[in-house]
């Protein structure tokens, strides 16, 4: 079924497009034109590379997890350490790119949505660095789960607006940021945090995040002299996974595995596993897969991880799923928490609860693979922000 029309832009198979109010159309067209101009401009790229290397700390390490590999007794495990980036996650890659682009476009104000707070913190950081105003929308539920990140954003000079509509989580933060953008466009850039939303965002965010797979490729070739057998990443909207997959898409020998948040299980209503439980729909500017009821009402999803607690997935992932190029598996809260604890104890690395979903699946997969196989897990962020929530999950009340 090809529903692509010649006027529609930003399609990945049937997915993508620009399903947004007319009020925003000239804004996304302006953004697309600016991006097409700057993406190949040497000065823009020089400035961005300098920010990534000198400010964010790139390239991030590709670390051989020797103890973990030996304990599991299967494939050789490498960890891509996006958790070591400035602000503690991969989000900074995209944010520095978009903030620099917005500045070149003459925008003076950034707005952003955030789930776990990582994208909000990264946006607040870039705004502070580049001297821009910043307003972050965050579901009230998430402001409670991630109180430390809320204060961090305030410390960085941003305003944080708790969103109380709907389920008061990430999807509602996106809706509210979109509403704010329709209200104030002239001086404002919507710094979208994932490979989702209307065109050109899925492409822009993927390009800025693709530095992850570019580095993995160079690093693994240097260390092992060959490509990995699998690359594994967690998927909410899907920006860290898209970044980790992108430069391997044409290398058919590399399995690409996205780990969705199953929450309390894909057979329950308390899940956020979009590919595994959702169906085709149109929401937040894009056609893709969404968790929804039979009348198209978006489902109130659930995951222990505020960053994966989203009812949709980016359109390029939906297309990678349709074509079979990538595989999307579901990982429960319990499995993710166990992986969170395992990596902390085994390698001395506390991963974000989001990234722990990828660690959990990789642990199962690695054990079943031969010792001469290689897998790369994208550790998209660090887990300091999650410590209190995991303690609560384990029945221990601690105060931040």
């Amino acid at each position: 079924m090809q529903e692509k029309t010649n006027k529609s832009k930003g399609r990945f198979g049937v997915h993508g497009g620009q399903y947004i109010p007319e009020t925003l159309m000239n804004a996304v067209i302006e953004l697309e034109n600016a991006y097409n101009y700057y993406k190949d401009e040497p000065e823009f790229n020089r400035e961005l590379t300098e920010l990534l290397n000198e400010y964010a700390g790139r390239p991030s390490l590709l670390y051989y997890a020797k103890k973990m590999t030996e304990e599991l007794g299967g494939a050789k495990i490498y960890l891509k350490r996006e958790d070591l980036n400035h602000t503690g996650s991969h989000k900074i890659n995209n944010v520095l790119g978009q903030a620099l682009l917005a500045k070149k476009m003459g925008k003076t104000r950034l707005i952003a949505e955030t789930g776990a707070g990582q994208h909000g913190v990264a946006t607040a950081t870039a705004a502070a660095l580049l001297g821009m105003d910043c307003v972050v929308f965050m579901g009230r539920e998430d402001t409670l789960r991630q109180a430390l990140n809320v204060y961090r954003m305030k410390l960085l000079g941003s305003q944080v607006i708790p969103v109380t509509t709907g389920t008061a989580t990430l999807k509602d933060a996106v809706s509210e940021a979109m509403r704010e953008w329709t209200n104030r466009i002239d001086d404002t850039h919507y710094c979208l945090g994932s490979v989702m939303g209307p065109h050109p965002f899925p492409t822009i965010v993927r390009d800025f995040q693709s530095v992850i797979s570019k580095e993995i490729k160079a690093q693994i070739l240097e260390k092992e002299g060959r490509l990995p057998d699998a690359v594994i990443a967690c998927v909410g909207g899907g920006s860290n996974a898209m970044g980790a997959f992108y430069h391997f898409i044409n290398d058919k020998s590399v399995r690409l595995i996205g780990c969705e948040a199953a929450g309390r299980g894909t057979d329950t209503f308390e899940t956020a596993a979009t590919i595994n439980t959702g169906r085709l729909g149109i929401f937040h500017g894009m056609k893709s897969y969404f968790c929804q009821d039979e009348f198209g009402q978006i489902a109130p999803v659930y995951s222990i991880s505020a960053g994966l607690d989203y009812p949709g997935i980016g359109p390029e992932h939906a297309w990678l799923h349709d074509t079979g190029r990538a595989q999307y598996v579901a990982v429960t809260d319990e499995e993710a928490v166990e992986a969170f604890e395992y990596l902390s104890k085994t390698e001395g690395i506390i991963p974000a609860i989001e990234s722990s979903h990828a660690v959990a699946y990789a642990m199962k997969l690695a054990a079943d693979m031969d010792k001469d196989k290689i897998i790369v897990i994208n550790i998209s962020g660090r887990g300091d922000k999650d410590v209190a929530a995991i303690a609560r999950y384990r029945g221990e009340e601690i105060y931040e």
């Binding site: 399903y19 007319e22 009020t23 466009i185 169906r279 729909g281 149109i282």
Partner: protein, 259 residues
């Protein structure tokens, strides 16, 4: 070509928006009848959506009340059948792309046509994406209504040329909701529409609530659209809202009918 053109034959048109199922569909049927009896020339029936990104707090609240009350697309179709027994003014659905797409665009439009609807407004489907919905609407006698916004500028002519039914002129930036003043140069927008398509009526919506605002807006257009102000009345009087909405519609239509 649908029945919508008849809405613009009685002087300046008054277009009333009502969220279906807020607080119950029985109330919606009564409210729609009251609006029609008191001079509404066109009625927009909102099918609630869980995440209405173009709506302000008032209509968001109505959507939540309606969905919590158990309203569904099928139940709304039944309510329209009931309304059509006594109401003949043109009516359009206003909802979000996923409500139509998820139901099956073909199945949705076929039913909507059969029960006597005249058009569909999808605020999250801009010109570039309309080919996904407009042809199937046309097939079942529904006009696919296009919107223009204060930011549309050079897009207005392209949109107006292909417009069907009427052009929905969004008066202000931002989401739906009552505003104290509207600062957009509306006449410049409607002028561009008329240059591109002299036959298409223009109705202005977003932010209009008082007879005076309606009068000011109607100077530059063929009609005014009021949503949040009506939804507010329904929110306040709930199951007893019909006479209050009727009274309000009468005051608004009186303000613009002889212009």
């Amino acid at each position: 070509m649908s029945n919508i053109k008849n809405a613009f034959k009685n002087g300046k048109a008054f277009v009333a928006f009502i969220t279906c199922g807020d607080p119950t569909l029985e109330t919606t049927v009564e409210v729609v009848k009251a609006a029609a009896e008191n001079g509404a020339d066109l009625i927009e029936l909102g099918i609630p959506f869980s995440d209405p990104t173009a709506e302000g707090p008032v209509i968001q609240g109505a959507n939540i009340r309606a969905l919590n009350g158990g309203v569904t697309t099928d139940k709304i179709f039944d309510a329209v059948r009931e309304i059509r027994k006594s109401v003949s003014v043109p009516m359009v659905f206003m909802t979000y792309a996923n409500v139509v797409y998820s139901y099956g665009s073909e199945r949705f439009c076929k039913t909507a046509g059969e029960i006597g609807m005249d058009g569909i407004i999808l605020p999250d489907v801009p010109f570039e994406e309309k080919e996904e919905f407009a042809p199937v609407c046309r097939k079942y006698g529904l006009d696919f209504i296009s919107l223009i916004a204060p930011t549309s500028h050079d897009r207005i002519s392209m949109i107006a040329k292909e417009a069907e039914g009427f052009v929905y002129c969004v008066s202000s930036l931002g989401v739906t909701g009552v505003r104290n003043e509207i600062t957009t140069d509306i006449s410049a927008m409607t002028k561009l529409v008329r240059q591109a398509n002299p036959d298409i009526p223009c109705a202005i919506g977003f932010g209009i609530s008082t007879p005076e605002q309606a009068k000011n807006m109607a100077r530059h257009a063929d009609g005014v659209i009021v949503g949040s102000a009506i939804v507010k009345i329904v929110g306040q009087y709930a199951n007893n809202a019909a006479p209050f909405v009727g009274e309000y519609v009468k005051s608004m239509k009186t303000a613009i009918e002889n212009m």
